[in-house]
Amino acid sequence: MSGLKGMFDDEFRDLSASLRDAPEFDELAAVRSVRRRRTTRTMTVAAGGVLAMAAVGVGALAWGGGSDGGPATSVSPSPTPSVSASPSASASASPTDDGVVTSADATDGWFLLSVQVDQDAPYFEVDLGGGIEPVGSRATDALLMVSPDGELTEIGTLDQYDASRLVGWTGEQMWLDQDNGQYFYAVLEDTEQNRLLTVDLESGQVISQAHPSYDESYAIGGPQWVGGVSASEFVVGLPTSESWGIARASMGSVSSVLCHSFALLAAMSVSPSGDSVVCFNVDAGRSSVEMAATDGSYVREVADLQSNWPTVVVVGWVDETTVLFAESGDEGFGYFALDLETGSIEVVAVPWAASYAVATYDNESETYVRSEGGITEFYGAEGTLLTSFDCSAGDYAVVPAVVYSGSKAIVKCAGAVSEGIDHPRESVVLVDLETGAVQLLDLVGYPAPAHNAWIDVIPFDVPER
């Protein structure tokens, strides 16, 4: 390849020489940007605000680019965390040089977390002495940014927008689901029942309200936002009594269903770019796999699993055209990689023993996560165990929810039994997918851990992931 190779080398040498002293490169701006992302800012949770549960595999660092802080240290959470709170998104100050973190600072590795509580029911919190105390010092709901270092910053509430659920967050904007609370068994043909709000986080104002409408009746649960195409077009999962469909919800217009999956399996997934979806339609003897473009331009069958009534679960995406799935067998789930361009299927070897606990795979961090017996495990790309921790709910081994952003993951562990009292307590764990370090987010001051409260977490830039 000497011809083109030589040309590339010559061109590169000439360009590099001519650009060596280019004044446009702003090193100071780069340093400031990196510093903002790395440095602890506004959040002043007492004593660090996080409880380091484990720190595994922090590599030795050489040269000048190493970590300054080293492994996470073990710190006890304070019962009275001090959280810098802004009463509304509009109160957020400039993120640049005044030490205040705003939503505009967020990038990969950040999350947006909401805590909500049913205001009509009492709520309690476990104090550090083992007792249970009523908690009322915080708002009934809060929107909290979670930085890659586990710092929390309040940026408002869902209640101020009369909204019920987080949908997406790009730092500059967020999308909220505003429903009328009649999801269950409602027929969602009424466009007023489910609205999508777009909020500008700099001003705190709702800049648009969309009323997605659907061309079919959906009986169970209502639409689920499962991905995004752009700020105005989302990919939604639409459950019916018989099947799940993935549809493109164009704001203000009728949606089009892209592909279907058997209702009890819901084995379908949006690709990392949001360009395509894959549906495993394994119902009543059918076992086809369909791939569709989210812009509705095509849908095609890409494979036939040749299986008889398997349980199929989408594990994740290797890249835009390769999806990992798990299929039930006699001794547990087997793992396979399906090339959506050729339809070829390959067995994927996994480092854990055969089991019915299915892993999920995150293509950006190239990690697997699985939970079994209350223990949650993360595995690196080469199959090495990155970290593991107890995410059990007391006597119950509930599979936790995992959300990814950049090189971080948040694991939402289910409630637990404490001191012999049935006291469901959600805990939220931040995992560094490069080092394996694990932190327990300190949400003690919020009502979410109580039995009548709940937590939602979405990653930065969810529509594009």
């Binding site: 011809g3 083109l4 190779k5 040309m7 590339f8 061109e11 590169f12 040498r13 000439d14 360009l15 590099s16 001519s18 650009l19 060596r20 002293d21 280019a22 490169f25 702003d26 090193e27 780069a30 340093v31 940007s33 990196v34 992302r37 590599g59 030795a60 660092l61 050489a62 040269w63 000048g64 680019g65 190493g66 300054d68 990038t107 590795g109 195409v229 752009s230 990392p272 770019s273 949001g274 360009d275 290797v318 890249d319 835009e320 055209t321 390769t322 793992y335 990689a337 090339d339 299927i345 390959e346 067995v347 994927v348 070897a349 480092p351 190239e366 790309a381 199959g383 090189s407 490069e434």
Partner: protein, 180 residues
């Protein structure tokens, strides 16, 4: 000054021209500065340690390439236009191939974004198909196709006779397994 700041300064002072040159060949001069800036910030924000400045440059180069492709990919509304980055002129057809001869710099803008990224990583960074696929978030099959198409286009434009076959193969996922 923190250690990472010293490292960033060392990288910027010693390798600035190389990074801008790489980005220029990948994305064209108009986007090079932004790509380098973004890639350096992203690389150092992760707290990753480097053995030396050459290793840091390699990481930043990968970040430049992946961000370049991400940019194109994320512009879903303008995808068709973005796939033909800076289409200065239409690619000459076969009848023009003999008559028209351009330099590499003039030829690169005629490639699609992914073709340009794949051939640049192949020839400039000497990355394998698998490494390119990982850096760009593409399948290995797609990398082979884009590389082959890119070489074919460059051959036509520049007059080279580079083999278009990209024969490398690698496992589709990092956890290898046999055929089903």
């Amino acid at each position: 000054m923190a250690r990472w700041e010293s490292a960033l300064h060392e990288l910027a002072s010693q390798r600035r021209g190389r990074l801008l040159g790489f980005a220029s060949m990948l994305a064209g001069p108009s986007d090079a500065e932004d790509l380098v800036q973004e890639a350096i910030v992203a690389t150092f924000s992760r707290g990753r340690g480097f053995d030396d400045v050459a290793q840091a440059e390699a990481y930043v180069r990968k970040a430049i390439a992946s961000r370049y492709v991400d940019r194109v990919r994320s512009q879903s509304a303008d995808r068709r236009r973005a796939e033909r980055v800076a289409p200065v002129e239409a690619v000459p057809d076969a009848s023009e191939q003999v008559a028209v001869r351009v330099t590499l710099r003039e030829a690169l803008p005629h490639l699609s974004a992914r073709e340009r990224a794949c051939v640049t990583l192949r020839y400039l960074s000497e990355m394998s198909v698998r490494e390119t696929a990982q850096a760009l978030g593409l399948s290995e099959g797609a990398v082979k196709r884009y590389t082959s198409d890119g070489i074919r286009a460059l051959n036509a434009l520049i007059g080279t006779d580079e083999p278009e076959d990209v024969g490398e193969t690698a496992a589709v996922v990092s956890m290898k397994g046999g055929a089903r």
